[in-house]
């Protein structure tokens, strides 16, 4: 597809666009995206959540949306837990695979962003698919991303890919607010702290790549249960250590983006 048909999208009603990314799949990126979005909403902000994982949308399940949405009767984006939410999963049955090439993904995401009524938002959180492929490039090239956070788990195999994600954002000049380490540890019944996937990897990567370390999310069976049952942890168990970690990260995101000067767009051509 010609790049000439990929103009930069303007999102005038949306103040900040935050991408939640990971190099590797399965590190809990969607869980982090949902919980940061809900945490921001619980802090009194107007928040949208766009599931850009066209191939494996998990946001519908995590927010308790079952089956497809009839667009004739239900306006999209959906209103769920105070968030405005959009996902390809609202339109395609979960058992049906979306087998699309890049341009189709680009078209779908562009439509989600420009043709739905998102209204006025303080934050739009975008749950990116894992990796550094077509959908990620499309979004970073066409959407005015304010910043990104990168999710990893502590073990080396995940850190290697997280680093690639960091590189991608550096290359396309999207500021990275920091690294979030998910599944860092769990507290045993004996009161001891266990670190099944080793420890300190996220902090080490942040130091190595000179980006902030936003903190760690402990393993908590309630995180998975809340996701599977459709009510995010921060709304359901706000006092749990994991929910408090999400809340702290949301506060940092908010502080960083609200205090950051808006990135100036590149100058256009002067014909003189």
């Amino acid at each position: 597809m010609s790049n000439a048909s990929m103009p930069k999208i303007e999102l005038p009603g949306i103040r900040n666009v935050l991408a939640v990314a990971s190099g590797k799949g399965g590190v809990g990126k969607s869980t982090v995206a949902v919980n940061i979005a809900v945490a921001l909403q619980m802090q009194g902000l107007r928040v949208g959540l766009l599931d850009a994982d066209i191939y494996g949308p998990s946001i519908p399940l995590m927010l308790g949306v079952q089956g497809q949405v009839d667009q004739a009767t239900t306006p999209l984006p959906l209103d769920r837990h105070g968030l405005k939410v959009m996902s390809i999963g609202f339109l395609v049955p979960p058992e049906k695979a979306v087998i699309w090439r890049g341009p189709m993904i680009h078209r779908a995401l562009t439509q989600f962003l420009t043709q739905l009524d998102w209204g006025e938002l303080d934050f739009l959180v975008i749950d990116l698919p894992p990796g550094t492929g077509d959908a990620q490039l499309t979004l970073t090239q066409t959407v005015p991303l304010s910043a990104a956070v990168v999710v990893t788990t502590p073990q080396e195999v995940s850190l290697i890919d997280a680093r690639k994600g960091l590189e991608m954002f550096r290359e396309v000049r999207v500021p990275v607010l920091g690294i979030i380490e998910n599944m860092s540890y769990f507290m045993g019944d004996d009161g001891k702290k266990y670190e099944p996937f080793r420890s300190g990897g996220g902090a080490r990567l942040a130091r190595h790549c000179s980006v902030p370390y936003l903190g760690e999310i402990p393993i908590d069976a309630r995180v998975a249960a809340s996701g599977d049952e459709g009510t995010p942890l921060v709304a359901r168990h706000p006092d749990s250590p994991a929910a408090q970690a999400f809340d702290r990260i949301a506060k940092v995101v908010r502080r960083e983006l609200e205090s950051a000067p808006a990135a100036n767009p590149l100058p256009g051509l002067e014909m003189t």
């Binding site: 000439a4 090239q141 999207v174 590149l266 256009g268 051509l269 014909m271």
Partner: protein, 105 residues
């Protein structure tokens, strides 16, 4: 490094003024040849096909039809020969020509 102004000071040369006050001047022919897209890179490594039929637009002097920003990191150029797939990152543009201190008029 970010540009503050980008202009066609002459019809055959793109001039970019950078944040640090330095300027790079890009003759269009050289800029076109430096296109970083995959097909141009592949072409540059091969010997030219002597039997290739030129398109009418290729016989006219090269013009820059349009240049537009890509995100915060690059520019995309539409050339008069119809080519438009090159995304020139800012770092790449800055490195293509020697930056000079040119007093602005």
């Amino acid at each position: 490094m970010t540009p503050t102004r980008i202009r066609l000071a002459r019809p055959d040369q793109l001039t970019i003024l950078w944040q640090d006050g330095l300027t790079t001047c890009h003759p269009l022919e050289r800029l076109r040849k430096a296109c970083p897209c995959a097909s141009c890179r592949e072409e540059s490594g091969q010997t030219a096909d002597p039997f290739r039929v030129l398109k009418p637009a290729e016989l006219e002097p090269l013009r820059l039809v349009k240049i537009e920003p890509v995100g915060h990191y690059a520019y995309k150029i539409l050339w008069s020969d119809g080519h438009d797939t090159g995304i020139y990152s800012l770092e790449y543009l800055r490195g293509l020509e020697k930056p000079e201190l040119i007093p602005t008029t």
